[in-house]
């Protein structure tokens, strides 16, 4: 199909289904829970009867116990509006075998394919120095092709500024949506967490896929290395072996994201570029 979406990956993705964890607002009936009560088989809640409600929805059993009129409400099912946001800053260009950005592209393509296949609408945006290449959600194979085309033509550049990008995104999202962020999150942690919390508070279903290269976790560098920042071009100068301290720091860094996102109800997945894309997706969608 495409180098980002090879046939063997597509075959491995068959039967995968992404179900939104929160209620989402769609335009047509679909498989996802809608915030509006509708006509599915799933009971949602009771509500006090108000004039105008259909009598057939009155729960007569409850009336028998309480002598008050309540109507049954059911979850409406709608199609999902998913936004896949990919970090295209220079730091994503790092990778020993495959860069994080290349890996992120493959994951984006795979997730897009799943959504399109289950008739959901997929939106897309790139974050590099703010929000770029914004595509509003749309279903249909045409959308998948558009996304793949943009992915192929996108290169890493400059700084990321996730918080600014998320803020801009939040302004553009009119309905409850699923937002999937793929990034190495090498930014100011507090700002990143705050921006995603804000997005989550807007009733969007946020999923963070934290991508790192294995070397960024294990830090296999001894002495006599000089590190140059891909985004800022800053240099560390030479130094002795700091592997132990680094590992401690990176663990703290990752833990902070994990704990903060869990507390906020934001789904968080840490993955290295060595994880096969289909495994990662299976892990995310369960």
């Amino acid at each position: 199909m495409n180098k980002l979406l090879p046939v063997d990956l597509v075959s491995k993705l068959s039967g995968k289904f992404w179900r939104a964890k929160k209620r989402v607002e769609g335009t047509v009936s679909g498989r996802h829970t809608s915030p509006s009560q509708g006509y599915s088989l799933d009971f949602a809640q009771h509500r006090q009867y108000v004039p105008g409600d259909e009598i057939k929805h009155i729960d007569w059993k409850l009336f028998g116990r309480n002598e008050k009129f309540f109507v049954k409400q059911f979850q409406a099912e709608t199609n999902l509006r998913a936004y896949i946001i990919i970090d295209a800053s220079n730091s994503m260009g790092f990778g020993k075998n495959i860069s994080k950005f290349e890996y992120a592209k493959r994951i984006t393509a795979a997730i897009s394919y799943i959504f399109i296949k289950q008739s959901d609408a997929v939106g897309f945006a790139v974050i590099k120095n703010g929000l770029r290449e914004f595509l509003p959600p749309k279903s249909g194979w045409e959308r998948l092709h558009t996304i793949l085309e943009i992915l192929e033509n996108t290169q890493t550049y400059g700084l990321c500024r996730i918080s600014i990008g998320i803020e801009e995104l939040a302004k553009r999202l009119k309905r409850r949506s699923l937002v999937i962020l793929l990034s190495d999150l090498f930014e100011n942690q507090s700002e990143v967490i705050a921006s995603l919390k804000y997005l989550n508070s807007q009733h969007h279903d946020c999923t963070v896929i934290h991508l790192l290269d294995n070397d960024e976790i294990t830090f296999p560098y001894g002495e006599n290395f000089e590190f140059i920042d891909l985004e800022t071009n800053d240099s560390t100068g030479g130094f002795w072996n700091i592997r132990k301290e680094y590992k401690k720091r990176i663990d703290e860094f990752l833990s902070k994201y994990k704990i903060s996102f869990r507390k906020s109800g934001i789904e968080y997945h840490l993955a290295t570029t060595e994880t096969p894309p289909e495994n990662l997706i299976s892990l995310i969608i369960g």
């Binding site: 891909l230 800022t232 301290e245």
Partner: protein, 634 residues
Amino acid sequence: MFFLLNKLFLYFLPAVIIPLLIHLLFRKKKRIYYSNISLIQDILSQKKIFKKWQKQTLLAIRILFLLFLILAFTRPWLYYSKEAKPSKDTSVVFLFDSSCSLNYNLLGETEFEKNKKVALNLLEQLPRTTKIGVISYSDKIEHKSTGLAVNHEKIKNEILGLKPTVKKTDHRLGLTAAETFMTESVAGSKNIIWFSDSAISDFEKDTALSKTTNVTLITEKTAKRNLTIANIVQNINNTITAEIRSFGFDGNVSLILYEDGSEMARTAVNLKHGNNKAEIFLKPSANKKYSLEIKSDNLTEDNIYRFIPEKTEQPNVLLVDGNPLPGYRSELYYITAALNAMNFRFETIGFHQFASYDLKRIDAIIISNYLPDENILKKLTGGDKKIIFFPGDNVEDGKTILDVSLSRKIEKRTTFVPGEKIKEIFGEDQKFDWRVSAQKFFKISYERPWEPFFFDTEANPLLISKGDAFIFNTSANKSWSNMISKAFFAPLLEKILSPKKEFKDIYAFAGEPVKWKYAETSGATIKLNDRIAGIYDTIPTPEKPGFYEITFLHKELKKSIFLVVNTNPSESDLTQTSDLKIKNASVFIVDRKNWRKTISIVLGRDSSLAAWIIVLFLLAAENIFVYFLNRGGR
């Protein structure tokens, strides 16, 4: 303060730059473009000072480690001061080599006497509690104290009573005697202060001593002249040119011409290492003695070197080669080199050409490895020509012409043509085997044509003639002709061959005692003048050849003749010692003038332990440092 006992280890000093080189060579860091360095920067900011100096600190530790390691091996030794009490009981044996070589002098005081003075000085410095013994030896024990004694006055008298000998040396005998003292001693510090001119190589192969003994060899190194005038040429334009040879001297000197003791001319000369020419614009007057002086503060021996021109004419020399083996590195090789060096006019002929050679224009004849026919020899020795024989070097016994010519009469072939080249006789490619070839090409009778005066132990003949000079190549060992390979041979040869030279001015070496003993038994008498310490075992060194005059009166000839006899390279070669080395002893060689160092070896303290402790400390520091540096990496 301290001095270093094993200075040789200082040659390893450049090794201290190894860590520096490694540091400089591997300082180039591998650059990694990393996703985000903020974490790394955070870590580094917390140990910024440590980061800045960590490598330099480690480098300094490693350099210091190597420095102290070398220092520990050099054995720093604290100088002794009278205020400091010796740390342990000390016993000392003054061991005097009283052989002939120590009896040698040029300036009135023998080396032996100088050694005695040093010993007496050392005796003064030693604490009164020191147990001391005195031993003097040559080829036998000349004097030995009854035992180690603390009575220094008695020791002083013993030293004063020591006399030099004219005997050869047996170091092992002396050292073994000293060892018996050391074995009996219960002192914590045992020392033998050994006064000898023994070479280090001889020193090492003599004996084994009891444990924990210091042997301090007191010796004196002779400074070698760093300038010499190789030749003086009187030019037609009323000037003279001095050819000055410099051995490492680089700088200005004054060249002064003296005539009958008065300064006539002076010039400043800039000299470089190697050969230099300096011209003085004044020709010495005829029939007046003149000399040249080189004056500079940077001369090694003195600040003035004086050179007296000996001759103006060079003789014609005939060199007769008796060695039939072409290309063999025999005497001929050295004689030719010497004659060339002295600008002699000479011609080399084969032994077979000698009988028919016209000797009219020849002033001197040098014959190597060949003894001519008796009649020719008598004719020559009765004439006015100087003849120098190098009768044989016994390199290949039984193969030289000499061996044959001494025992058998050789007659020329009837077909022999004067001037015929040796290869034409024997064939160019044919390997010459004298035993076969001589009989094949020459008629040899078994009559002894000439009876030598005597043969030495190596079967070299001593020849006595009616006059003139002989040089006897009485090689001390079987393998080589020593004298002619030495530096003094060329000027000696020049001195002998100079046609205007009167023989009474010729000096000779006194040689190996065995041979002289033969001479004595043969009835010859030997008269020594004041300038020679003894005839036995007098060892001239290459730097100071020591031309001695020896008057040798033959009972029959009743005429003074002058012998220049080869000597051994070292008298120690005469003493057949085993290959034992001095074991269980620390051996130090100390200049005689440096008595303070000697006394410090005996009574001072070894500071190398302190250096070793520092080495261990630095080693530990390096390891701990590296551990802490690497701890971040695990």
